[in-house]
């Protein structure tokens, strides 16, 4: 737990977060490992965890009928995976697959949700940080969407 606290505190997501809150979050954290090809979560599964990737690459995919799953984003070391745990219906919208071996810190979303409801200041700090991540992903997605390399 001590090592986890250090790693979590050092992670950019937790910068400027009240140490008391960080300790709260650590209380909901654990180390996890995935092997190459493992699905970290699948579309439709209940979303109660999010991950800080420590090592390896994860691809975010969308299932398509009669088609292999389509990769829409890649995440690597240092990035946060998963925000569907934050808002109802708390259900994953995509697959997340370990492209190689992956080591991550899993944070218990259910536990964290409860703590955020009890402590709105904590809730606000968490939401602010997730809003930033979602904004960055949205901007990047929009760029992907307009297909800049296509010949019109």
């Amino acid at each position: 737990m001590e090592t986890l606290e250090r790693i979590i505190a050092a992670h950019p997501f937790f910068t400027d977060l009240d140490p008391a809150f960080t300790s709260l979050m650590v209380g909901c954290a654990s180390n996890v490992k995935f092997k190459r090809g493992d699905y970290i979560f699948r579309e439709g599964d209940p979303a109660n965890t999010f991950y800080l990737i420590r090592e390896g690459k994860v691809s975010v995919e969308i299932q398509a009928p009669q088609h292999e799953p389509m990769i829409v984003a890649s995440l690597q070391e240092g990035e946060i995976l998963g925000w569907s745990w934050l808002l109802p219906p708390y259900q994953w919208k995509h697959h997340a697959r370990a492209v190689g071996d992956v080591r991550a810190i899993a944070l218990d979303g259910k536990c964290l949700r409860t703590k955020c409801e009890e402590n709105h200041d904590l809730g606000y700090e968490v939401l602010k940080r997730f809003a930033r991540i979602i904004e960055q992903r949205l901007e990047a997605t929009r760029l992907q969407l307009i297909d800049v390399y296509a010949v019109r």
């Binding site: 690459k57 990769i71 984003a73 890649s74 990047a140 800049v148």
Partner: protein
């Protein structure tokens, strides 16, 4: 050795096609050598030539080869229409007209002693490849080299073998991404701006050179600025309609700049107020 008999910039010189290599389903690299017995002309990274196919037409194409190879001129061409298709379907031994090199190229002098960040989107890697060659062949003159390259999909990636080879150089980082990956793609998926967080950059002593679709360049320059780079250290290569390549036909004007002779490379400082104007 005889000097070129054609002094005027409007006369094409015959160059012979040595080789046409397929890079992707629609993109080919042509290697040309002088066909009139005269010396090859040296070019600077970022410059372009006007290439002419007999009876078809002429196009501005960036030079994508190695500046230290004096005799050959190398171009990577994407076949998008009649003229480009005519270029990429030339057989070895055919003559192609070459005018140039023209334009202001990448700031190789200003970049000396700095880290060099090359950000390329799609075919934009072609005019940047000479930069990579020059940096790697004059390694001591430059700091770190970071190459960030994005393409539409894995099959649209250019120079794949070279990308791998470049990555093996010391103090060199090559990051590649695609917008649309498939199951067999184990690399990164996402637009090229998503690569920035993985790049080991030192903004205060970096010079960035960017080439790709205009939309991509707008987002990349913004991203680089947010990472602490100065607008005068960020360079972009612009593209507009060109008929003459030497500042007479007026077609390539962008604001008050003639892309052919004031550019195609400009600082972001100069381009920023123009890039945000619709239909300039």
């Amino acid at each position: 050795m005889a000097t070129s008999p054609i002094p005027d910039v409007m006369f094409p010189r015959p160059y012979l096609v040595r080789e046409v290599a397929k890079e992707t389903p629609d993109t080919f690299t042509l290697k040309l050598e002088p066909g009139d017995g005269a010396n090859g002309r040296q070019f600077r990274p970022g410059q372009f030539s006007m290439l002419w196919v007999f009876g078809v037409g002429e196009l501005p194409i960036s030079i994508s080869g190695n500046p230290s190879e004096r005799e050959a001129l190398v171009y990577t061409v994407r076949s998008v229409g009649q003229a480009t298709n005519a270029l990429v379907t030339q057989a070895a031994g055919n003559g192609v007209g070459v005018r140039g090199p023209f334009g202001r190229g990448w700031p190789m002098e200003a970049a000396r002693g700095h880290d060099v960040i090359v950000v390329a989107g799609g075919i934009g890697l072609a005019p940047l490849r000479p930069v990579i060659y020059e940096v790697l062949e004059n390694r001591e003159a430059y700091g770190r080299l970071v190459v960030l390259y994005g393409a539409r999909s894995p099959r649209d990636l250019l120079y794949r073998k070279e990308l791998a080879a470049w990555a093996r150089h010391r103090e060199t980082q090559v990051l590649v991404t695609v917008d649309y990956g498939g199951m067999s793609w184990r690399g990164h998926v996402g637009v090229v701006t998503t690569l920035f967080k993985y790049a080991r950059l030192k903004p205060s002593r970096s010079v960035a050179m960017i080439c790709g679709p205009e939309i991509m360049m707008r987002f990349v320059t913004r991203e680089l600025e947010s990472h602490g780079l100065n607008r005068n250290d960020i360079y972009v290569s612009m593209e507009r309609n060109m008929k003459c390549g030497v500042g007479f036909c007026g077609h390539c004007q962008f604001g008050a700049h003639f892309i052919c002779k004031d550019g195609p490379v400009f600082t972001y400082e100069r381009m920023r107020p123009l890039l945000e104007k619709y239909e300039l």
